[in-house]
Subunit: 335 residues, 4 copies
Amino acid sequence: MPFDAITPADLDPADPVGAIAAAAKRCSNWGRWGVDDVLGTLNFLDEAKRREGAACVRRGASFSLAQRFDMDGPQKGWRRRTNPVHTMLDTGTDAERGTQGFPHGLGGADDVVFMPLQASTQWDGLGHIFDHGVAWNGRRAGEVVTSDGDLVTGIETTAALFAGRGVLLDVGRAIGTDGELPDGFAITTDHLIATIEAQGETSRVGRGDLVVVRTGRLSRARRDLAEGRGWGDYAGGASPGLSFTTADWLHGTEIAGIATDTWGFEVRPNEFDVAFQPLHQVAIPNIGLFIGEMWDLEALAVDCAADGVYEFFLTAAPIPVTGAVGAPVNPIAVK
Amino acid sequence: MPFDAITPADLDPADPVGAIAAAAKRCSNWGRWGVDDVLGTLNFLDEAKRREGAACVRRGASFSLAQRFDMDGPQKGWRRRTNPVHTMLDTGTDAERGTQGFPHGLGGADDVVFMPLQASTQWDGLGHIFDHGVAWNGRRAGEVVTSDGDLVTGIETTAALFAGRGVLLDVGRAIGTDGELPDGFAITTDHLIATIEAQGETSRVGRGDLVVVRTGRLSRARRDLAEGRGWGDYAGGASPGLSFTTADWLHGTEIAGIATDTWGFEVRPNEFDVAFQPLHQVAIPNIGLFIGEMWDLEALAVDCAADGVYEFFLTAAPIPVTGAVGAPVNPIAVK
Amino acid sequence: MPFDAITPADLDPADPVGAIAAAAKRCSNWGRWGVDDVLGTLNFLDEAKRREGAACVRRGASFSLAQRFDMDGPQKGWRRRTNPVHTMLDTGTDAERGTQGFPHGLGGADDVVFMPLQASTQWDGLGHIFDHGVAWNGRRAGEVVTSDGDLVTGIETTAALFAGRGVLLDVGRAIGTDGELPDGFAITTDHLIATIEAQGETSRVGRGDLVVVRTGRLSRARRDLAEGRGWGDYAGGASPGLSFTTADWLHGTEIAGIATDTWGFEVRPNEFDVAFQPLHQVAIPNIGLFIGEMWDLEALAVDCAADGVYEFFLTAAPIPVTGAVGAPVNPIAVK
Amino acid sequence: MPFDAITPADLDPADPVGAIAAAAKRCSNWGRWGVDDVLGTLNFLDEAKRREGAACVRRGASFSLAQRFDMDGPQKGWRRRTNPVHTMLDTGTDAERGTQGFPHGLGGADDVVFMPLQASTQWDGLGHIFDHGVAWNGRRAGEVVTSDGDLVTGIETTAALFAGRGVLLDVGRAIGTDGELPDGFAITTDHLIATIEAQGETSRVGRGDLVVVRTGRLSRARRDLAEGRGWGDYAGGASPGLSFTTADWLHGTEIAGIATDTWGFEVRPNEFDVAFQPLHQVAIPNIGLFIGEMWDLEALAVDCAADGVYEFFLTAAPIPVTGAVGAPVNPIAVK
């Protein structure tokens, strides 16, 4: 199937249900790795790919692709997603005052956090999104995720796997103005391909790769913050992002995962009259694709723009909270 | 200074204060990287070391060194350290029932966690332990860690750095019985050196390496669990671990970090009549050393024993909770 | 219907399903207050009853019936019920050190809590228990309590109502040995009636009353604690408590609510071969009865034993967490 | 000392330090109840006062003075004060689907909350505010509140005591326009006295009373909410409230506690050029006064305006979180 099975012009804004059903049918990976599969597109990321990733380490420069996890984040409480709340169990102030009760001059600090697992830089697990009550690989949603968490595809099943070749597609720089795409800009397959071509050979994308797409949305949010306007609608509001029509590219490239510097991966507002994250509905339960959100690609992108090398060894190991449908991650790119 | 400046026989069990002071004096790195330094021994981990680490990727096999984060963990509430509590904000059961209110058949699951930052696999930050009210590099503890967290050496300062050459020292297999050291066994410098010699060339340890030491304590805890005896005292109780006398080796090797499969890194009970984690008091505030605890080295150790290769590319990127004095991590070893 | 419709001798230990169905049929209050009712037996507690309660204030002595909420509680993590974790956002140590940044010498302390709503002294809400997937007043469980909480009978609906005449039935003192009933002791209707008779006129129980039943189980737990044995199985283990056969008394007396000094209200082990809290299954979804657990009746009971007066004004206002199926409460009895 | 020791005209806006020191000197209760006292003005609330309170129950009508505790509250994260986050451990949806594993058709729902203790309706404890590093009764702040909480005056010490005669001073209706005072309106002693006079005999205020002051600020916030403008700055922003100059009235009346319908009790902005809650600095550490905030006085005030009776039996029992410097409460007024 061609990557460009459909273009935005083919979409009927009044019919997300039909578009989703058609894309799901074209792109479904159900059964591809057996009825018991819990890994989806991570099956594409094999040992050869990890060796290929390691070979991308040329200088030894490392970049964290995580935003900081703290109360100053973008969350505004939508569906109870707060920012992380970090509190201390013991402090240096107490230790210095000498009231902790430890022997031989020992003092300690300790701490705790309360946070939605998708409050900041994270991977969506395969149990995060359902299509008409059905989860990845055709399981009924209620058999997969109950109040006890994701009993089948919990993020812990992926704990060892997110290490391989990463590729940055800096669409913001390649297509945008001053390195940024405007809110509402739908990144199409053509844009992705044009970016790859503009960036050159190190940007090729294929089976098992971990792709990170920079839109520039986080640059804009940071500028707003620095200039006193706050995070605005970074979390949940208008944003550049992938077009619904990239489903076939996401499927056909056989990538293992994809992440962006935005809150929601997809273009917002979505490309239908009444919709909410329709590409997720195809990508997660039907393709079995791992999606990362709120990644910080700024420093990496500057470096890639400088040396023209867009591939790297990427480790993006989520904290294996048992049964989690998403998990915080501090991805490390090494060039 | 020789690594074997002291041996356990040199310790006066009645005088931890004196022993700590002497070791702190011998091993201090204060000022070594300037008065403003916040990275301690991470300064040893440079780009060359990362290239050396990447060169250890021979097969592309990857291993997660994290335990699972859930309520079934070993914590028992000491100083309010509970196990992680994971709860759902939305479930598949709800989605399947069709009560979530999303359009076009979309359903979702979402979740939240409450956890002490050192509940499971973690790095201690440099603000975790103080020596007589003084933190790493000579700062007063109360200037570093207040109720607002670690204002100076918060774990976020290390976000991009924990990627390099990892070395497994499987002391349990090299020195122990059936692969395990008994509780209370103090691993000395001689034991570490003997393990390196027994394991061979890939086990050499030097400047900038990330060393992981397997004692077998987690194997024993897992066997107890499997046989219905629960975690017992894995968290906080008796355990094999590093002898206080390894301080000079930790300092002299110029390693960037070290982690074990135990709750507390050091041998427990500690080697003094009345003491609590005296090696921490030397290692963290005086050496500026990063210590990892509760790492799961089981699968990696089996693999290393099988192929005789004990080095690997290790990425161990903590979740950058701003101001944290410790942080959860899912370390990934790639061989 | 007589209160003693059945006795323990009538129960078939092999047939909890049959016993529950029969009791539910005899005791159902469904529809009694209309199809939209959310208050159940709180409908019995009217203004006249509140005046009667206020008239019980003779001396002005007040008693808190709450246990303390802290990490030293009895919870052991069953179904993720931890003890409350209380952490500080600001401390006096920081304030005294002068690092908080407030003007004119102001300092502050502030705090946060993470707690299961039934971690300590609490009321069960009407959405807490279901009978074959059906909630209070015949609603389907999935229409009442989703991941968003109890959308119908959330505890906030009761916020103003728990104030009226309270009656202590100190079954431990009336029937037990040294003031305590042994674990596994099933309190029957006969025991309740005998206690009322032994205590005298102020112990009469009728429509709209709030009844508190002391078994002595908390006395025993406190003694165990004081003697270094810990909480043991106070949370979830063997305990005296109400017999399944008291369902008809609970229904027929038309009380507004009932609380005990035990973890689970009912006798434990339950009176069937394989069962879990069968009286709850009748009382909450079928009778619509409010059940309180883990109340501290010790000081009140001593006072009542001393002056022979067992009635008082009871205010037991739950924290109105919107959508909660249970809520912490600090009940105050004034005699 | 007269209640009107000073008036707003006496304040030097440039000198909060001087004004606070002078008021603290005039109003200090240090030592009044001994050096070990932890109850402050609660000492004024005796058994006679509780009998007087109970005698105020004439009709039996009850009113909850608590706002609801949920994510839709006014908090905006200032100093990590989020709104309460309520999540489910078990749901009715799961129970109805039959996946919970309980016997005999039992199903259950259970829940957990994470909340700052002052997120909604609450009492400030005596450890909440310090004056130049000194807490109630002259103790050093660092001896009272560490990371382990308030070791001396924790809210649990008050668990049984907040029950007595309540008095509503509806300053909004007595002095304001359409029942509300504008933001920035400082309620003076004269305003309080005028309100008492306007409301009549049942509004007299004296030793041991619990006073609730309605400003109308919550009415305005609710109207804003209803009209789609959100909470605005209810939490922390401009507000009517008590003038700094009421310190002498708060001290001289010998009331046991006082609460308002605002976030911060005091008028905001405060009456000095650069200040933050200066009246707190006098009232809590120096007078030892209990202050309640964010109480919902709307329904009670309508009732009082209708029947002209402003006194009632008030029970306002905080959840006794051990060591808390503030605590949630569901106050119940019974008339």
